[in-house]
Symmetry: C3
């Protein structure tokens, strides 16, 4: 396991947002794969109160080279002012890591 892949996690409020972020990230080759987890419930501090929200969690799989672009995309397109965008490096099986690298090559004409 020598190739690294970046996992980037965010949570969105609804399926329409999940659909849009997923489609646009894939179309722009900002990620090779997006996994949508089932519904999650987030509870958190916000402006002095404890809030609760039902959300959808997305995990993007991208190359280290594209992670900065993907983060900027999520930050810009996400409906929240302070979206949760968390990322970390993982070791990938060789063929999977090569696939992620190949599928996240920056398009020549953008």
């Amino acid at each position: 396991m020598t190739l690294n892949v970046t996992l980037m996690l965010t949570t969105v409020p609804d399926a329409a947002t999940a659909d849009r972020l997923t489609a646009d990230a894939l179309a722009g080759r900002l990620a090779a794969c997006v996994t949508r987890m089932g519904a999650v419930r987030s509870q958190y501090h916000w402006q002095g109160k404890i809030e609760s929200a039902d959300e959808i969690q997305l995990i993007f799989k991208t190359s280290e080279a594209r992670a900065v672009d993907l983060e900027q995309f999520i930050q810009t397109q996400h409906p929240y002012d302070t979206p949760e965008i968390l990322s970390w490096q993982v070791a990938a099986s060789n063929a999977y890591g090569q696939w992620v690298d190949a599928e996240t090559q920056r398009p020549i004409h953008v």
Copy 2:
């Protein structure tokens, strides 16, 4: 992405335990956010047999500075003798990382 956030994962046997750990961790500012994943099934070795349990997975988002306190809290409050408590550092988008830091400041009077 320069700020780090600690993800801490545990699994609990039921919703009542998930509610209690979530509420108490947030009230004590041991985490800024707790995400409850849908039901998961754990299969594992235990005392010479392979067991299966339906559980709820919780992911706490906290600062590196509060991670030790959060781990101790989970260890003490968790109904299992050997709870699964796993943590790792992730890179956070700036505003989210700052929010986690701010919301997990140790209270002045405890």
Copy 3:
């Protein structure tokens, strides 16, 4: 938190595959615990198109010493040509880390 545990993630197409991989990995002491997440939906680039698949996500908890064997097992037994096999190190609570180490000792006769 001083002991490390390896989390290894894969996605499989159906419950029968999840059952088989889980049972065989545990029987071979390639993992101490396997957590099956609820259904996930993966969307990804494949051979020039964007595909979508409903899958089951599995997270294996193993020791660093056994991670290579577990990866090889998944690679060999997985029905996909290019399975997603991603792994990373996490810090474990002491008792849990010791349990993972103990339960993933290589069997004497294999």
